[in-house]
């Protein structure tokens, strides 16, 4: 059968949009935003419960809400959005038709049904096992079944993505190498395949255990294999949001990476080493050797971290190079001062980059060090860290790119431009506060997943320092700020899709230089003269080294040597 592909060309950006891909991008993005809303409400209720003066939820509801929050935002919102990114990075950036759109729709419906089933299981109250669902805690079989269906759907999405790469190559819709953003999406899809395979290895037996066909699952074996899925799923996010950074830099500034080779090599480091960082969740397990722990974290993980630091240098570097080419050459930072801080796509992306590096990245390396891990393992420091990576990093980057996707895919203007300018700052600084204050509480020893740090019903009393209570209060206030930013995002996006002014493609004049060119082609900026970016990198390194050694000092104080 000859597929008659239907394309349109966006008059603003020059992207060639395949209609089947466009519909699937819309469906996945809408589903993502709906689950962000649900998961965000649960997240706010968790933060308000941790705030001891408010202590919103009773214990059983707290654990239910914590489970639903983890699933809906850490998994469902992000993976749905990533499916949209995979279709965008393949069909649209490669000017290609989407391979087998019907499998794409199967992906969508399986993921949607799976997410709904798991949510229903959690809301029924007998599956409050939290996101990690460690055995021997047993959830309803529907809980595991829903996640498995969701994962199968995601795997199908990856198949459609790889199929589209083949179609594009066969039909010669691009020359030479794929664009860097597509390469980032390939990295995300590769990690996704490993993630889903690991999930299948552990969740299918767990489903059979929950219905009684298997008598026993070893908790340590479960935890080891589960984290191959649980942590790698967050590495999909890292690859995807770095691709989004490059995309936004290309669309807004026409920026090209400082060096295609260097950026692609950094992605290769992700492909080879990033998933191994799952081991940092196992650093205090006595059943695993130090060799396994140290190889997988302190050796392999550092190579992946180097990949992130390269991206952290080259993304702002590419923006600086593009800005300097436009004449913003005064001093070290004119390019940054005169950047479009009122454009939510840029401000969201840049805040995401800074918070991901300074908060999520540095603390991730600290936690991945076997000795340092001991002072923060299973404390609130852990969710503090991953709110820095997954929320301030990934979610903020995905929010930022939405401000480009809505006009491009829905052909609607963004409503409430004034509030849209404010939204990334509210959400970004709110989440940065959540992250920092949870890590502060974790440093003071507050355990994660604890309903009541006052231990009011406990037989043996225990008092955390008063500063821990202050940290959780500040965490609650930050969560309110982030919730306002999140609610604004949803209102602006949904409002724009439904009521935004329609963009008239026929009437719009073609731009002199379509911004799509920088995102859809191979090529480097051709300069490394980016002094402002190198200064930012220096500040990062000083912060990194100081924080790293401060934690060794904390560790030294734990066991005093006389």
């Amino acid at each position: 059968m000859t597929a008659i592909a239907q394309f349109r060309t966006c008059p603003d950006t020059g992207f060639k949009v395949h209609s089947a891909a466009e519909k699937l991008i819309k469906a996945n993005a809408v589903a993502a935003v709906v689950f962000l809303l649900v998961g965000g409400v649960f997240g706010l209720s968790v933060a308000l419960t941790r705030w001891q003066e408010v202590h919103l939820l009773p214990a059983d509801w707290f654990y239910l809400a914590l489970t639903a929050h983890g699933l809906d935002v850490l998994l469902v919102w992000i993976i749905f959005f990533e499916m949209a990114i995979l279709y965008f990075a393949s069909a649209i950036l490669l000017n290609s038709r989407l391979a087998t759109p019907w499998i794409g729709w199967l992906q969508f419906w399986l993921m949607l049904i799976g997410a709904l089933i798991t949510n229903v299981a959690v809301l029924q109250g007998d599956s409050s096992v939290m996101f990690t669902s460690y055995v021997p805690m047993k959830a309803s079989p529907l809980f595991y079944l829903g996640i498995i269906l969701f994962a199968v759907g995601a795997l199908l999405g990856c198949c459609v993505f790889f199929g589209t790469l083949i179609v594009a190559k066969d039909e010669k819709t691009y020359e030479g190498s794929v664009p860097l953003v597509t390469f980032g999406a390939i990295t995300a899809a590769i990690i996704a395949v490993f993630t889903i395979a690991s999930g299948a290895i552990i969740l299918i037996p767990t489903l059979l255990w929950s219905v009684g066909y298997i008598s026993h699952i070893d908790p340590l074996m479960y935890k080891t294999v589960w984290w191959a899925m649980g942590h790698s799923s967050q590495q999909i996010n890292v690859s995807a949001h770095v691709a989004v950074w490059y995309l936004i830099a290309a669309v807004i500034f026409g920026a090209k990476p400082l060096s295609e080779k260097v950026s692609r090599t950094a992605y290769l480091m992700y492909i080879l080493f990033l998933q191994l960082a799952s081991a940092h969740h196992m650093l205090v397990e006595p059943g695993l050797s130090s060799e396994w722990k140290i190889f997988n974290t302190s050796y392999a993980m550092y190579l992946a971290v180097m990949g992130s630091m390269i991206h952290g240098l080259t993304v702002p570097g590419s923006i600086e190079a593009a800005q300097r080419k436009k004449g913003f050459n005064k001093g070290m930072f004119e390019w940054l001062r005169k950047a479009p801080w009122g454009n939510p796509a840029f401000s969201g992306m840049f805040l995401s980059l800074v918070f991901f590096g300074f908060i999520g990245g540095i603390t991730g390396v600290v936690m991945g060090t076997e000795q340092l891990n001991l002072i923060m393992h299973n404390t609130l420091y852990v969710p503090g860290h991953f709110h820095g990576t997954v929320v301030a990093g990934t979610t903020l980057a995905f929010m930022a790119v939405t401000y480009i996707v809505v006009p491009l895919i829905w052909r609607r203007e963004i409503i409430w431009p004034g509030l849209a300018k404010l939204q990334p700052y509210l959400f970004g600084f709110g989440v940065a506060g959540i992250s920092l204050f949870m890590m502060g509480a974790g440093t003071l020893g507050v355990s994660r997943r604890h309903w009541d740090i006052a231990f009011s019903d406990a037989t043996l009393s225990f008092d955390y320092p008063a500063a821990a209570y202050l940290m959780l209060t500040l965490n609650g206030i930050s969560a309110i700020l982030a919730a306002i930013g999140g609610a604004l995002y949803i209102l602006i996006v949904v409002g724009s899709i439904l009521f935004g002014k329609k963009r008239d493609e026929a009437a719009a004049p073609a731009p002199a230089e379509p911004t799509a060119a920088a995102a859809t082609s191979y090529g480097s900026a051709g300069t490394a003269a980016v002094p402002g970016t190198f200064m930012l990198a220096l500040i990062f390194f000083v912060t990194f080294v100081l924080y790293y050694f401060v934690n060794w000092k904390y560790l030294a104080e734990t066991w005093g040597v006389s």
């Binding site: 030479g176 190498s177 490993f194 997988n296």
Partner: protein, 58 residues
């Protein structure tokens, strides 16, 4: 060496693209590496160690 405008096969120089470029353009080989390396170093090595733990006698 100057970077080509389009990547591996679009350079138009007629020569064979560099090894790293061919590696990075071979997406399915990257998929193979990205699945096999963590499977061996994280899952298989980890599971082998766990299976060596003696079962407790009650």
């Amino acid at each position: 060496m100057a970077e080509s405008e389009t990547g591996a096969s679009g350079g138009g120089t007629g020569g064979k693209p560099p090894f790293m470029q061919r590696l990075l353009d071979n997406h399915f080989f990257l998929l193979f590496l990205g699945v096999v390396i963590p499977t061996v170093f994280y899952i298989l090595w980890g599971v082998m160690e766990l299976t060596q733990i003696p079962v407790a006698n009650y």
